[in-house]
């Protein structure tokens, strides 16, 4: 009894001194939740976590939210921040203006800055529209300079550039990761659309591990799908890279770029499609995927596709990152095997009534 009282008292003091923010909090445009913007939720909840802090975005969103920075939190691997959309606020694998979205139209716009140790981002839409071709823009940008062993989970997000300018060098990025700290990155089921570089891992020297699975990267200008770089030396460690079931299309520079010094990347890869010859996997380069409508960026798989549907590895029991759904929650596999990319094509089911053979009616 004495112990319980002491623990309760300590917890009370801890909560009031450090502003503990564990629990579930909602963000809703219409004022029916705890907060109306992600930035105000982040500011209000900044603190030391004793268990997971869920920031759940709900309801429809007729306006775009502003850019957000997560910094100044104390998180633990057992007590991360989880930012996720649910219900009407979640996109359906196709860009949805009525779902939650972060939008920036300013030069040097960054949709989501990550400067905390443990964070999961799930189901967000981020839209960049900067018209300045010389300014750096980024969807999710890591700027973390705390202690090592950070965890990052980025899943089911739709990040795009929808402005009208074309850049000629590497300054418009969907996700830019690795800021010189050793961490574990799990990135799956994301769609990255029309960036110069879809995903960028910047000279990793710390021994970080990346699980990059089932992402769809579609480009429309002079671009790179994934740029993964690392350096190894006596004082530096490898980049441990697991690259599976990713789909890169439309790049005119290179689908996959591996830049290493002293063989700094230790890569395990399987079933990664590229529209050019740069796929690390034999038989998966120079392939053209059929989307629902590539021209309008409906980047879900079309029934006519023959190169991504049923061609992926089953990752439901993967030792590094296991999951069994796609970007819209469809259970994988729908057919005989998993599909490559963020989307799992759903085979149409033929109902019993439709299967019945209709005999012609003969009028006597």
């Amino acid at each position: 009894m004495k112990k319980i009282i002491i623990v309760s008292l300590l917890l009370f003091l801890f909560q009031h001194c450090f502003g503990v923010s564990s629990g579930t909090f909602t963000v809703n445009q219409w004022g029916t939740g705890n907060y109306t913007t992600l930035a105000s939720a982040e500011s209000g909840l900044q603190g030391v976590l004793i268990s997971t802090c869920y920031i759940v975005i709900t309801g429809s969103w007729t306006v775009a939210d502003g850019v957000t920075t997560f910094a100044g939190w104390t998180t633990f691997s057992t007590a991360p921040v989880i930012v996720q959309t649910t219900g009407l606020s979640r996109h359906s694998g196709i860009w949805n203006e009525n779902a939650y979205k972060i939008r920036s139209n300013l030069p040097y716009g960054i949709g989501f800055i990550v400067n905390i140790k443990h964070i999961y981002i799930d189901g967000l839409q981020i839209d960049l529209q900067d018209g300045d071709p010389s300014a750096n823009d980024c969807g999710i940008y890591e700027l973390y300079n705390g202690s090592n062993d950070q965890y990052r989970n980025f899943s089911n997000n739709y990040i795009r550039y929808s402005g009208s300018t074309t850049v000629n060098y590497n300054n418009r990025t969907g996700m830019a990761l690795d800021y010189g700290k050793r961490g574990i990155y799990k990135i799956w089921n994301n769609i990255l659309q029309d960036f110069y570089t879809g995903m960028l891992v910047v000279y990793c020297t710390t021994g970080s591990t990346y699980y990059i699975y089932n992402n769809t990267i579609k480009a429309s200008q002079s671009d790179i799908g994934m740029s993964l770089s690392a350096q190894y030396s006596a004082t530096q460690s490898y980049l441990f890279l697991y690259l599976k079931n990713n789909l890169v299309q439309g790049t005119t520079f290179q689908g996959y770029v591996f830049q290493t010094i002293n063989y700094g990347i230790r890569c395990t890869s399987a079933c990664n499609i590229s529209s050019d010859a740069t796929s690390p996997n034999t038989d998966y380069g120079n392939l053209t995927v059929s989307f629902l409508n590539g021209a309008t960026n409906w980047l879900l798989l079309s029934s006519t596709d023959t190169v991504a549907i049923d061609k992926a590895r089953d990752l439901s029991a993967d030792s590094g990152l296991s999951f069994n759904t796609d970007i819209i929650g469809t259970i994988r596999p729908s057919g005989v095997a998993w599909d490559i990319g963020a989307n799992e094509y759903i085979y149409p089911t033929v109902s019993a009534t439709k299967r019945r053979i209709r005999r012609p009616i003969v009028l006597e």
């Binding site: 502003g19 909090f25 909602t26 963000v27 809703n28 219409w30 004022g31 029916t32 939740g33 705890n34 907060y35 109306t36 913007t37 930035a39 105000s40 939720a41 500011s43 209000g44 900044q46 502003g66 920075t69 910094a71 100044g72 300013l106 800055i113 400067n115 700027l143 300079n145």
Partner: protein, 139 residues
């Protein structure tokens, strides 16, 4: 007939103009908790977000222990964009803060959590002050 058409067009323009004035103002959310303000944390009088007039704030945002809501009928939300800058190099959450000594409505804002200020775009720069002292190198 022509005069009637012109009158309708004129009235439409006037109504549209009045609506645009109505949507001109903004409401800003000010961090109300006194912290050390280091390592990326917000500090009291930091502006968190600026939203257009009529924002339906959430329950935590309306809690005056967490935030103050200051209404500016004469200032557009866009004017605050430059004051919402995160200094990533020094991990300072807001480079600018409100100078509360220059806030006429400070007492009612702190007491009730909301207030309306009469400042304009022109006087905004005197209310928002830079937190990090600029280093002046003398010749």
């Amino acid at each position: 007939m022509k005069l009637k058409t012109l009158l309708i067009v004129f009235l439409t323009i006037v109504v549209a103009y009045l609506f645009s004035i109505k949507a001109f103002g903004c409401e800003i959310l000010i961090f109300a908790k006194d912290t050390d303000g280091i390592n990326g944390r917000y500090d009291i009088w930091d502006v968190v977000v600026a939203m257009p007039d009529g924002q339906n704030w959430g329950s935590e945002e309306r809690n005056k222990n967490n935030f103050f809501i200051l209404k500016y009928p004469n200032i557009n939300a866009k004017e605050f964009e430059k004051y919402l800058v995160y200094d990533s190099t020094n991990n300072v959450r807001r480079v600018y803060k409100i100078d509360d000594t220059k806030l006429d409505v400070k007492n009612s804002l702190v007491a009730t959590g909301t207030a309306t200020a009469s400042d304009t775009k022109e006087t905004l720069s005197t209310i928002m002050v830079k937190k990090i002292a600029e280093v002046i190198i003398e010749p």
